[in-house]
Symmetry: C2
Subunit: 335 residues, 2 copies
Amino acid sequence: MTTLADVARHAGVASSTVSYVLSGKRSVSEETRERVRRAVETLGYHPHVGARALASSRSNVLALIVPLRSDMYVPVMMEIAIGVVTRARGHGYDVLLLTNDEGSEGIRRVASSARADAVILTDIGMEDDRIATIAETGVDAVLIGVPADPAGLDCVDLDFAAAGRLCVDHLAQLGHRTVAFIGEAEGVYRRHIGFAERTLRGIQDGAAAHGVDLVHRPCDASYEAAAGALARILEERPHTTGLIVQNEGIIPPLMSLLRTTGRAVPEDVSIVALCPDPVAEQTAPRLTSVTIPAAELGIRAVDLLMRRMASGAAGEVRLIPPSLTIRGSTGPRPA
Amino acid sequence: MTTLADVARHAGVASSTVSYVLSGKRSVSEETRERVRRAVETLGYHPHVGARALASSRSNVLALIVPLRSDMYVPVMMEIAIGVVTRARGHGYDVLLLTNDEGSEGIRRVASSARADAVILTDIGMEDDRIATIAETGVDAVLIGVPADPAGLDCVDLDFAAAGRLCVDHLAQLGHRTVAFIGEAEGVYRRHIGFAERTLRGIQDGAAAHGVDLVHRPCDASYEAAAGALARILEERPHTTGLIVQNEGIIPPLMSLLRTTGRAVPEDVSIVALCPDPVAEQTAPRLTSVTIPAAELGIRAVDLLMRRMASGAAGEVRLIPPSLTIRGSTGPRPA
DNA sequence: TTGTAAGCGTTATCAG
DNA sequence: CTGATAACGCTTACAA
């Protein structure tokens, strides 16, 4: 293994000089800087991150905590992860992947062992246990999601309340009076995951404002669950002409079911989805949707974290305004 | 921050003793061991991983490298990641997430900076550049996937050739004589990704053995691509009664398209899929499929890596035998 | 502009 | 069975 000392010897300078060339923390003459650069290059030197972490008490790692259940928001999580990793690398950081089953203990572990400098949390509950742990350990953190009380916390998220509202607005404008909201699995609401509750509230507010008759049905990500939810909706409220869906997994079955039961989209029933664009574009007809900008959430989370670590600032909630893309799945209410 | 020395002072022993209690690398009297334990507990001591890495030259981190393109095998990758992280934690390791866009440079970086002790590669090409880098850097590695020449490498994978063969066997047994294989995106074959080529060969061999008339169509993960591929197949080979699908993304559109064009599954056309079980169970009818045991691949990869790091053994290719689950999407060839 | 040297918190060797 | 103590490779005052 080649070390700083090796490079220094090769370049004929002191090892601190090499360190300074690499960190840029003090000015070095162009000449020696070049000599050091060359030595680094020819020796293929890579600083030992452990030694660096020990000396500087910064690991240049950030931890991303994702939910363990592999059946939830999978494409969204994957995109977030990719956004985070890509952006973090751009800032010279590596990303440690933790699963939620370690819970608060995982945060405590990586923070107090100096494995990571900061953490990014996802799948945020309205009252999330881990928030206390963050405060307690003092580790820098950014939440992708917003808890009930975000005081002092840095959060990034889509403005889900506005997103829900947008869906209803669109359907109401098209004349729909009876709308059903097929949401995430029951358990998501039971755990009081922020985005799910906010979306629901946005939809409810919109329905109230427009005088739209609304029903909410949580739904597991299985064919049966989708079939059951849809059947019940159509049976109990046969005049339903508008559907809002926030559950990527059941979009394909839902489309099939509608076709099977002889309901044309958008002629008989209009559908608005809350999902990443690729998902909305994979059906026929394509779905009118409010996009979930997952990769961007990851990117912004990293940027916010960097800002926070640099300036010590804290307590910003950044909500991305939703935007609705009209595709082929929505149309005027049938006569 | 509390250090080894703090614990030692608190317990009234030498710091080396604390270290030995923690590592168990030499015997310590029950009494002092207990005293140290208590001190660790009350002080909430967590060893500094950087210092530990520096002194022991082991980071207790392994790097998982996943493809960047977020549109490919997403559920599979996510499951692999979860399997890897969970198992790694069980062995006391943390997992660093790298994307493939860093390529060989990423491997070189984490290996030579001692950021990770070992790497797990996915998305393996038949002739994969990164294999040379592994040899060159001497970093411990396990591939999830098998290159053309796996000599000296540790690999884990589903036996995709056998899996492909199994699909054809099943259809042939049901009497199907004209079969189409709708595969991954063109680019996957162009990059000579191992699993795709092996599956294709398995299917081709099976078709030859059974005298089945086969055509292979790569297909992007979009509705249009699926529609185009299916239309072309049915136009050029109207007698096609069997479909093998290896492309999770297009399963939902495919099912819709068949229904739209008036083909009943399995009465008119039988479908066998190569995908994770949850995907196969999300359609109606459910799909007869050969499962891709993604989480298990991740778990086995970690186990293999641990074995390798412990014993220095190398060069094992572990192929998981495929198993076909008959569900509702396959039936006898129509008269 | 550059060099010297004191840590950073572990591990592991060498004595005892 | 336990204690000192020299590394480990880097950062960062402090000098020059």
